[in-house]
Symmetry: C2
């Protein structure tokens, strides 16, 4: 018992903002997803990277960085790790000797396949409480928000 205080903390002002509700919901999803990925030795960023490379074999690091919405320098260490674990290869790019062509190894492809199954199950579980209509509506709403110039609004 922490004293006589009832400790009913209110966040009514913040709750008035849809953005705050969006953040709270996302935090729950993110926390759970981290637990799902940990057994695979993956984090959200490494899983996303592997999946995008799987979908776009031969892509360059700068393209991956842009796709992950991160700065090129910060991607270097991540690719280093994935390469050390033999999940990804930096092949020479055929048309540009400065660039690398990113491709998954067989080990990487296998890992992504298994992790994707787990992520898919996680996703189904998190959104299981929503009806088909609610989910469709949610996607539409999120799409509208995302299309808002992506970054700084008017």
């Amino acid at each position: 018992m922490a004293g006589t205080k009832v400790d009913k903390i209110s966040d009514t002002t913040l709750r008035g903002f849809s953005g705050y509700r969006l953040k709270r919901a996302f935090n729950v999803v993110q926390a759970d997803l981290s637990h799902v990925l940990k057994p695979f030795g993956l984090r959200m960023i490494t899983y996303s990277a592997l999946t995008i490379v799987a979908d776009n074999p031969g892509m360059r690091q700068s393209e991956l960085a842009k796709s992950l919405d991160m700065e090129r320098p910060n991607l270097v260490g991540i690719i280093d790790q994935l390469q050390r674990k033999k999940w990804i290869r930096r092949d020479p790019a055929p048309t540009d000797r400065r660039a690398h062509a990113l491709v998954l190894t067989e080990l990487g492809q296998d890992l992504v396949a298994r992790a994707t199954e787990a992520v898919a199950e996680h996703d189904r579980k998190v959104f299981a409480g929503l009806t088909g209509d609610e989910l469709k509506n949610l996607h539409q709403a999120l799409q509208k928000i995302e299309s808002m110039t992506t970054g700084r609004l008017s």
Copy 2:
């Protein structure tokens, strides 16, 4: 021109996950909100802290940390900053000599009032594309997701 590559990068696998869509939408909101708060000398975390203290004068640091979903040690530096800027005070807690009673100064109250106006306008702008029904639906969906045990799912 970056060579002959067309660079159509696909994220179809990730797009199949509602959690990924949630993340993308949240990123847009977060990035824009940061721009809104910067002129006030505030970040998301400092604005949230000030607002919750404004709603709960006399609350303790541990309560604020829990409310912000962060660890107690990480809050110390943040309160230090807010105190240095004369926006918050650490008064002695009346019933427990270990604890602090957090309260906003007049300067802090004024700042929160002005910032909250800007945040409210930002929130209206971001979600302006949604109809009343869509927004109501969105809130309901986000609430359902957030209620999923908050953390690790079953």
